[in-house]
């Protein structure tokens, strides 16, 4: 359900507000790294943080000391803010954020695409770190998919177009999916494991930006990637 709402929202602002409500986190921030093409040549940031905090953040130049930004745009694995090493310069920023009533812990997901364009989706929480971590671990795979959908959406807002290239096995899996077969049956037909089939299906959904497999089949037929 979340996927559909995110995809249907007409802007990134709308999408992050939806995420904030569905996942019941304190705040959501989406940050596309500097990309020098088309109309975007300045940072693309959308956040549910109060405007006063965003203004202060920019005015104080916190983006240069924010450990979340530094880690998120250089690394590749998602991370909890509580795992970061905080140096003195970022200390004052963290204290300032807390004075604003903003959560101390959070979770960020770095995104990188085939053209090495990066973005970062962050969630902040006011729940105690223990409960928060437990909660996030259960939804981490979904959140990662959301981060990639937002990334593509933001680039499309900037006028980027994406082409889809499927591998031979992916096309075969799509074909059998369109014939109404489930992952287990496709595994039997192709004589591969169900986990491998699921990996192909995941890849297909990602490339076609689809939240469900029926949607992926419909899209693939429209795009003439498969014929029935």
């Amino acid at each position: 359900m979340a996927f559909n709402l995110i995809e249907k929202s007409d802007s990134i602002e709308g999408a992050i507000e939806t995420l904030q409500h569905i996942f019941q986190v304190q705040h959501v921030t989406f940050h596309l790294a500097n990309v020098n093409f088309g109309p975007i040549d300045s940072p693309f940031v959308r956040s549910t943080y109060p405007p006063e905090w965003i203004a202060r953040y920019l005015l104080k130049g916190y983006v240069d000391v924010d450990p979340v930004v530094a880690t998120g745009f250089s690394g590749m694995l998602p991370f909890f803010w509580s795992e970061l090493e905080i140096d003195e310069r970022s200390m004052s920023m963290m204290a300032d954020a807390q004075a604003f009533g903003l959560g101390a812990d959070g979770y960020s997901i770095p995104v990188i695409d085939k053209s090495a364009r990066r973005s970062l989706l962050s969630f902040s929480a006011d729940a105690p770190t223990g409960t928060w971590k437990h909660y996030i671990r259960n939804v981490a795979a979904d959140l990662a998919e959301m981060a990639h959908i937002l990334h593509k959406k933001a680039l499309m807002e900037a006028g980027c177009r994406f082409s889809v290239h499927l591998g031979p096995r992916e096309i075969e899996c799509l074909y059998w999916l369109a014939q109404g077969k489930d992952a287990g049956t496709i595994a039997d037909i192709l004589i591969i494991s169900e986990h491998t089939v699921r990996s192909y299906l995941k890849s297909i959904r990602h490339k076609l930006s689809c939240s469900s497999l029926p949607q992926a089949v419909a899209k693939a037929i429209t795009m003439r990637l498969i014929t029935l």
């Binding site: 085939k114 795979a141 491998t196």
Partner: protein, 215 residues
């Protein structure tokens, strides 16, 4: 100990990373004769500039390297996509947030033999596979695309790893290159620990004593 080095920690781990790039040159260029980019004593390519995760096995002081592997998300630029697009199309095309690729897995035979005489290179490879699985599982990754030489199939099997070969290609070096999908799940991790005779997690902790590793 086994730990992951992310881009923000490269600087703190220059010693270990230096050893890793040298080891990669010895293994992939000198021994396996792959057509890899060599810069002096280093084997280093453009993916190393993108901030990949290096999973390493080193001593507690982080001075001696035993093994290393490189992990990258398949949503981004990947070696498999660029190098094996034509020869291993099924593996090369996979791309999704929960699917990562592991490349440049290598073991430092001399260091291993000196400090862990009871651990064979095959077992070291198995231990690294378990560490990769634990790291992946903790970050919501469900599949690792691995490339390996045919004889390492046995190392995966004896470590209890579930790896399904999805392609094989020749012409890259002394042996054909195999591509496989390594299933990551809690049950796979438990199975691997049992097979390797380990209790509890191997990564990030100092629990895995030399004795256990040798087991």
């Amino acid at each position: 100990m086994f730990f992951a080095i992310q881009a923000n920690a490269y600087e703190k781990n220059t010693g270990i990373l230096d050893q890793m790039f040298r080891l990669r040159k010895q293994v992939f260029f000198d021994q396996l004769c792959w057509q890899v980019e060599v810069q002096g004593d280093y084997e280093r390519d453009r993916y190393d500039d993108l901030g990949p995760v290096y999973l390493v096995w080193a001593d507690i002081e982080r001075e001696v390297l035993y093994a290393a592997i490189r992990l990258m998300p398949t949503t981004g630029p990947t070696l498999l996509y660029d190098v094996f697009y034509d020869t291993l199309p099924d593996a090369a095309h996979l791309s999704a947030p929960g699917i990562w690729e592991a490349t440049r897995a290598c073991v430092h035979h001399e260091n291993l033999e000196r400090d862990f005489p009871g651990v064979s290179p095959m077992r070291a490879f198995g231990l690294m596979s378990l560490a990769s699985a634990e790291c992946a599982f903790a970050h919501a990754i469900s599949t690792i695309v691995v490339n390996y030489e045919p004889y390492l199939k046995r190392a995966y099997a004896s470590a209890g790893a579930l790896v399904e070969e999805i392609g094989r290609a020749g012409g890259y070096g002394r042996y054909p290159v195999c591509c496989g999908l390594f299933e990551i799940s809690e049950s796979v991790i438990l199975r691997m620990r049992a097979k390797l005779g380990l209790e509890g997690s191997i990564i990030g902790t100092e629990n895995a004593s030399p004795l256990q590793l040798t087991a």
